[in-house]
């Protein structure tokens, strides 16, 4: 380990099966100690990517490098990884302690102590001290999940792989475990690759996320950046609620506070910030506006729409609006009703790639 190399590097990795191609020329790097999340709908190739990292599957083309070393042909047992599966995969014929101790058959405890101490330390870390002699089947789902995490961490792997580890748990437990997992990951500083289909979870827990779709990576970045500045229509719609609108560019201006494009959408002229892409009049242009950016009686970009239905979400209320045949979402503190006039600041609009 030199430390200068990325912990994980995928270089043009493709995995083709007889009928389908699960991963298409994916290139990614994960930094040392980073919590990196692959997020996308089911079938997007995120789990296959994880299995390629673990050595449970081999790429059809491209290279997988762990700590700078090409691991093609290296079996899982020689990759220095820990993995936690969605269904926990606890060994049913072993006790909790035997499960956690299993990896220590093949590697000495990283701190140089005894196996028993290491197991106790790990069970303590995941709040399961004293549960060692239980049968895994006696434990609740959340407890089983933590045993699986302790087991994966016990030999002190360089890389932790998590395959939808919380999707079988209920929402409240999931949130609690999420916080716990993040704390453990920060404490140990272990490079972690996390796979989930839950965008909220991905944004909450990660240092960086990669949004995947149909075997390709659509965008990589820090959660805030990806959420605020999605590059594609898919990312804009996948991460949180969004309004994506399409129109034709009429005019482009730059008055020092950024590039502004005037776009005609269904006969209405709207002004949007267009710093990232410099459109020219006549272009087709797509942009997104978050529901919370639509404000009642806004000064610019006013639209008049009819409220179709509302959902009470606690602090805010989400309204489904009909704006001349286009569906819009708004999220306001005061519930909307009937016909409303909304507007948004051009700076809150974000231009995405046209599809």
């Amino acid at each position: 380990m030199t430390g200068s190399e990325p912990a994980v590097e995928l270089d043009g990795v493709t995995r083709r099966y007889a009928e389908t191609t699960a991963v298409k020329a994916v290139s990614l790097t994960v930094r040392e100690g980073e919590f990196f999340t692959l997020v996308g709908p089911s079938g997007c190739g995120k789990t296959t990517t994880l299995r390629l990292l673990g050595g449970f599957d081999s790429p059809t083309a491209g290279a997988v490098r762990l700590a700078g070393e090409n691991v093609s042909g290296v079996p899982p047992e020689n990759r220095d990884i820990g993995i936690v599966f969605q269904n926990y995969a606890l060994f049913p014929t072993m006790t909790v302690r035997e499960n956690v101790a299993y990896g220590l058959n093949f590697a000495d405890p990283p701190d140089g102590g005894s196996t028993a101490d290491r197991v106790a330390e790990l069970l303590d870390l995941v709040d399961l001290a004293g549960m060692g002699e239980r049968d895994p089947t006696e434990l609740s789902g959340g407890q089983q999940q933590r045993v699986a995490l302790a087991r994966a961490l016990a030999p002190g792997p360089q890389l932790l792989l998590l395959d939808e580890p919380m999707s079988a748990l209920d929402a409240r437990l999931r949130e609690r475990l999420r916080v716990q997992l993040q704390a453990i990951q920060t404490e140990l500083g272990i490079t972690t690759v996390y796979v989930t289909h839950d965008q909220e979870e991905a944004l909450a827990i990660s240092d960086r996320v990669a949004v995947m779709r149909s075997g390709r990576v659509e965008q990589v970045g820090e959660p805030r950046a990806v959420y605020r500045r999605p590059e594609t229509r898919f990312v804009a719609a996948f991460l949180g609620d969004n309004n994506v609108l399409d129109g034709t560019v009429l005019d482009v201006t730059d008055r020092g506070d950024g590039v502004r494009a005037t776009v005609r959408v269904d006969g209405t002229e709207l002004v949007v910030r267009a710093d990232d892409r410099r459109p020219v009049p006549g272009d087709r242009l797509s942009f997104c506006v978050r529901p919370e950016a639509l404000v009642v009686d806004g000064a610019t970009n006013t639209l008049t729409a009819t409220v179709q239905s509302t959902e009470f979400l606690g602090e805010t209320t989400r309204a489904h609006l009909d704006w001349g045949g286009t569906e819009l979402l708004a999220r306001t503190a005061v519930p909307l009703d009937g016909s409303v006039t909304l507007g948004f600041d051009p700076a809150d609009a974000h231009v995405v790639a046209v599809e």
């Binding site: 050595g55 899982p76 995969a89 606890l90 049913p92 014929t93 087991r151 792997p157």
Partner: protein, 610 residues
């Protein structure tokens, strides 16, 4: 709530009394209870009462209770060898030292145990590699092969014995092949080897089936986790896969032992006079009308079988049942992607195994068919001509082919009609949770453990000879007796094919149906039966095959009557010459297969159960 026809939701449908519907409702609500009572009654009259009379016969001699028949058996060196001295009051130490100095002899019971152990070892040795192939490799015809593993279990044993005679005799085609390469000849007839191989023919597929099921329920994630933690593929197999296979292999072994311990037609036909097991001895005693000794010996046999089963069930109870979501291990392609020692070695082993499997599983049946069309002079139809001549001009006491076929079909159809409803009822009763369910399960499954000979004697002595109920005498004659014996032997297999499906059904389905107003019976008919239909069809096919192949109790009940079946006819022919027996065997094979196909077509897609 359902809307009422008059459109007034307030009144509700309960206030619309309808007598005809009420009656149907009541019958429906009671349907399951009625079936349960009928099933219990049939079991009581057709199984427990007759078997009970046999047991009583062993302990009541001339109207007084006595242990004499038992003690006679236990003290007889013919049965227990050196151990018999133990029951004569000799001190154990003397017995042990005598046995060691003089070369141990464990008598008939000892030999029966010994051959069962050998057969069990052979079954496991042949069965586990088959499970490995089926669970871990992908190749064309895998599903078919998997389905075929059920076949040996339902092939009539007397027919298989005929096949083994044709396959392993001195002038068999096997010896023809061996002679060409300068080996042989191998003559296994009337040897222990032939009996053990024939037992493996039956039980190795059984071991394979239960082991494949366990192998397929191993979670690939668990194996992958072990690999990620540093275990080599072999080590991961040892630590994660193997411990999940042991219980199933052990179950297969325990069942193999119990089945081969009580084996009858195989030993009768392949052991000739040289080899005798307890069950054959019981049959010989019945033939010579020595009922008390036969009954006592049958009880000794039953106790040993039940002891093994009990020991196994105790073990099984400690294995916790789990229902988890798993991702099964991926199958490898049989033709490897790359050529290396690691990929070629196991496949080379499998090729060797395939050759052995061909000799054990395919050769006997093929040899039987071949032998039925040949004699010393080459191809011939003489054996079939013999059957026709026998049909035309048999003496009254001789067995004719056509009545045998007709009787087999008749008994098969009748057994089906009795065994399938019984089996489904017991399956429903034993998959619902309530107190005493284990007892119901044990009581209903007992026919599996009790030998056919005992059931046969019991029905003969208890029902055919008549039960005195007050002044009247209830006599269950010929056909009904045979059908009863067949149905009792067959219905546990219906239970075993139907129950797993019922257990897998999501309980909320039935609860939803009942919340919508369906009675329990109605929910069974509307929701559960369609879901488990393949299991019911498989159970029916089983029941038919068991009935068509049943030999032990049929031979007891049909001797001296016109109610002999195809297996009984084979046994009569085999005593004279092999040729006509093989021809009759082919007829049995064709009729059984054809009936199987008919059930399959009528019942929809056949899927393997058990």
């Amino acid at each position: 709530m359902t809307d009422t026809p008059d459109g007034d939701p307030a009144t509700g449908h309960d206030q619309q009394p309808d007598d005809a519907r009420g009656l149907v409702d009541r019958v429906e609500r009671r349907g399951l209870s009625v079936l349960a009572v009928v099933t219990a009654a049939v079991l009581l009259v057709m199984f427990y009462y007759p078997v009970g009379t046999v047991l009583v016969e062993a302990v009541f001699v001339d109207g007084a209770a006595t242990a004499r028949p038992f003690l006679d058996i236990l003290r007889d060196p013919f049965y227990l060898g050196d151990l018999a001295a133990l029951f004569d009051g000799r001190p154990p130490a003397d017995v042990v030292s005598d046995a060691i100095s003089g070369g141990p002899d464990f008598g008939l019971v000892g030999f029966t145990v010994y051959q069962a152990l050998l057969s069990t070892v052979a079954s496991v040795t042949l069965g586990v590699p088959l499970a490995y192939v089926l669970a871990r490799y992908e190749f064309p015809g895998r599903q078919t092969l998997r389905s075929l593993t059920i076949l040996p279990f339902v092939l009539p044993s007397i027919m298989v014995a005929t096949g083994f005679r044709a396959a392993f005799g001195a002038d068999s085609p096997l010896n023809g092949v061996l002679g060409l390469v300068g080996l042989g000849p191998v003559d296994l007839l009337f040897t222990l080897e032939a009996v053990v191989i024939a037992h493996a023919f039956y039980n190795a597929p059984l071991v394979a089936r239960v082991t494949v099921a366990a192998w397929e329920s191993v979670d690939a994630s668990a194996v992958e986790t072990a690999r990620s933690l540093g275990a080599s593929p072999l080590r991961a197999f040892r630590d994660v896969v193997a411990p999940q296979l042991y219980p199933s292999v052990l179950m297969g072994a325990a069942l193999s032992f119990v089945f081969t311990f009580g084996s009858f037609p195989i030993v009768l036909a392949l052991g000739d006079a040289e080899l005798m097991t307890v069950e054959v001895r019981v049959f010989r005693l019945v033939e010579s009308l020595d009922y008390a000794e036969a009954a006592a010996l049958a009880i000794v046999e039953l106790l040993i079988s039940l002891g093994v089963l009990y020991g196994y069930l105790r073990y099984e109870a400690r294995q916790s049942a789990r229902a988890r979501e798993i991702r099964p291990l991926p199958r490898r392609r049989f033709v490897p992607d790359s050529l290396s020692v690691r990929t070629l070695l196991p496949r080379a082993g499998l090729v060797v195994y395939a050759v052995v499997a061909l000799v054990v599983f395919v050769l006997p049946i093929a040899s039987m068919v071949q032998a039925s069309f040949t004699d010393t002079g080459g191809l011939t139809l003489d054996n079939y001509r013999f059957l026709l001549e026998r049909q035309a001009e048999a003496a009254a006491f001789q067995v004719q082919p056509w009545p045998a076929v007709r009787n087999s079909l008749l008994f098969g159809a009748a057994s089906l009609l009795v065994a399938v409803p019984m089996g489904v009822t017991v399956a429903v009763l034993t998959t619902r949770g309530y107190r005493g369910r284990k007892l119901v399960d044990a009581v209903a499954m007992a026919p599996l453990a009790v030998s056919g000979i005992v059931v046969g004697i019991g029905i003969l002595r208890g029902l055919v000879f008549g039960i005195e109920i007050g002044p009247t005498r209830l006599v269950v004659g010929g056909v009904a007796a045979v059908v009863a014996a067949h149905a009792v032997a067959a219905y546990p297999f219906v239970v075993r094919t139907v129950a797993p499906g019922l257990e897998r059904i999501d309980g909320t389905l039935v609860e939803s149906a009942r919340a919508l107003g369906a009675s329990r019976t109605r929910a069974l008919v509307d929701i559960e039966l369609p879901l488990i239909w393949p299991g019911v069809v498989a159970g029916a096919a089983f029941a038919l095959a068991i009935s068509m192949g049943e030999f032990s109790s049929t031979v007891v009940l049909a001797t001296g009557t016109d109610w002999y079946t195809m297996p009984v006819a084979i046994e009569r022919f085999i005593g004279r010459r092999l040729g006509p027996a093989t021809a009759m065997g082919v007829v049995l094979l064709v009729v059984t297969s054809a009936s199987f196909l008919v059930i399959d077509r009528l019942g929809g897609e056949y899927r393997d159960g058990l």
